[in-house]
């Protein structure tokens, strides 16, 4: 009983980094290929699709860990009382609240995003640059994607910070402060990568080439 509660919590913490966080970085790197044009992106996406035993990789490294992290995360998020941020508006308390809010936004975004891309691919549609261009030429969708992607990156970066505390790696206030700076820098840099990829899909120069 003691061990299972502890195990569930630590598993939730670990899965957020490996494999879910690691996959986020791989995914964003593939997206970034879009800044080099439709062909680069399509070949990168095709490479991911052509991996052997893809279904096993997807379920074991993405869907199942993501589902566990999401469901347990929702349970954790709904246990907290957010009323006290107004009275105790300290930086970390604010980040505590943002971590939970961005988690829920990321979950909603991912539900929609997976439906629109991976599930449609399973139904026979081709997942390529053009598909993303069609989705993102709608301004509302573009805003939804930017919010979703930035939330996911924040949740990952700040989650890395709290992972290091929860596993007892950054213990003292100094290491935790430096860790805050480091992961916020990661958040900004990865966000730039991710958002520039989103805009690459609607770059008029590339839309012409895909006709």
């Amino acid at each position: 009983m003691a061990t299972s509660h502890f195990f569930n919590r630590r598993l939730h913490s670990l899965l957020g980094i490996i494999p879910v966080g690691a996959f986020l970085l791989v995914h964003l790197t593939v997206n970034y290929m879009a800044t080099r044009g439709p062909e680069s992106f399509n070949s990168a996406a095709h490479f991911m699709e052509s991996l052997p035993y893809l279904a096993v990789l997807e379920w074991v490294l993405i869907f199942l860990p993501l589902l566990y992290h999401a469901i347990y995360g929702l349970y954790v998020a709904f246990q907290a009382d957010y009323g006290n941020v107004t009275n105790y508006g300290y930086f970390r308390n604010f980040m505590f609240m943002l971590q939970r809010i961005t988690g829920v936004i990321t979950l909603i975004f991912l539900g929609w995003h997976i439906w629109e891309t991976r599930v449609q691919m399973a139904f026979g549609e081709e997942l390529n640059f053009e598909m993303m261009t069609n989705i993102l030429s709608n301004t509302g969708m573009m805003i939804f994607y930017i919010v979703g992607v930035v939330s996911a990156i924040f949740h990952f970066s700040n989650g890395m910070w709290s992972f290091l505390v929860s596993w007892g790696i950054t213990i003292g206030p100094r290491s935790q402060r430096l860790s805050s700076y480091f992961w916020m820098l990661v958040f900004v840099l990865v966000s730039i990568i991710a958002v520039s990829a989103l805009f690459a899909f609607v770059n008029p120069e590339y839309i012409v080439t895909i006709g």
Binding site: M1, F7, A80, Y88, N93, G168, I171, G172
Partner: protein, 249 residues
């Protein structure tokens, strides 16, 4: 007559199940008052701001020098000790509320027994009783003693639980104080001998893993105890202990 007054707005509640209400008081100003001495004035003359006779406000207090932890309450939105809340440093009107994370007994008086239960749960003591004389324990290195001394300042006042977003009726989290106390006794060379028992207790639902790292506790602790360092240190001990338990035993 333009006598300077202290304007007090108190959240009151007649009993554990009663409906809360607010009552205002105007107290003649004297220099160097604290929240306790203002409440004592209300006690001496229980008349509210409308001039009606009322019941005196109930609160707890003991040492009056911020070492006992009894007079914790929420003053102008922040949980702290009433004895060290000086009127001259507070913005008026002064709003007093009970620490609502705990069950309310009456007015500003709360039942903090869950903290004692948590200390019992994490075995926050050093067992030295035996059927024979156990002799002297190991010596404490000076550096360890200094760390332990800071942790030993905890007065179980409950402020760290009140400010924590994860300590509430939806969550079994025990809060920072008992986790820090487990660290204190795990730090002590004799207490260290029973380290695993405390760590085992901290793995349960509501234990150390339920901390959400909002770090309000360390900001609010009136004794300046490094509570977040304690939690992270216990997290490290739990990591080591759980790996050892899985792979070795």
């Amino acid at each position: 007559m333009s006598e300077k007054q202290i304007h007090l707005i108190v959240s009151r509640q007649d009993g554990p199940e009663s409906k809360p209400y607010t009552e205002e008081f105007k107290i003649p100003y004297r220099p160097n008052m604290n929240v306790i001495s203002v409440l004592m004035e209300v006690q001496k003359n229980p008349v509210n701001a409308k001039g009606e006779k009322t019941t005196p406000v109930v609160w707890e207090m003991n040492c009056l020098e911020e070492v006992c932890g009894a007079c914790s309450m929420v003053i102008n939105g922040k949980a702290r000790q009433a004895c060290s809340a000086l009127i001259d440093q507070l913005e008026q009107p002064i709003r007093l509320d009970a620490m609502r994370t705990f069950p309310i007994i009456r007015d500003l008086m709360v039942d903090r027994s869950r903290m004692f239960d948590a200390l019992k749960r994490v075995k926050a003591w050093i067992p030295i009783d035996g059927t024979y004389d156990l002799g002297q324990g190991p010596r404490i290195p000076e550096k360890v003693r200094q760390t332990a001394y800071e942790l030993s300042k905890c007065m179980t006042c409950g402020v760290c639980l009140e400010v924590c977003p994860n300590v509430n009726s939806n969550s079994p989290f025990i809060g920072a104080a008992p986790i820090s106390q487990a660290r204190l006794f795990n730090t002590h060379p004799t207490g260290e001998m029973n380290k695993e028992e405390r760590l085992e207790a901290l793995m349960y639902d509501g234990g150390a893993p339920d901390c959400g790292n909002s770090q309000n506790c360390v900001q609010a602790c009136p004794k300046g105890i490094p509570l977040t360092t304690s939690i992270a240190e216990i997290n490290r001990q739990l990591t080591v202990y759980s790996f050892k338990k899985f792979f070795v035993s």
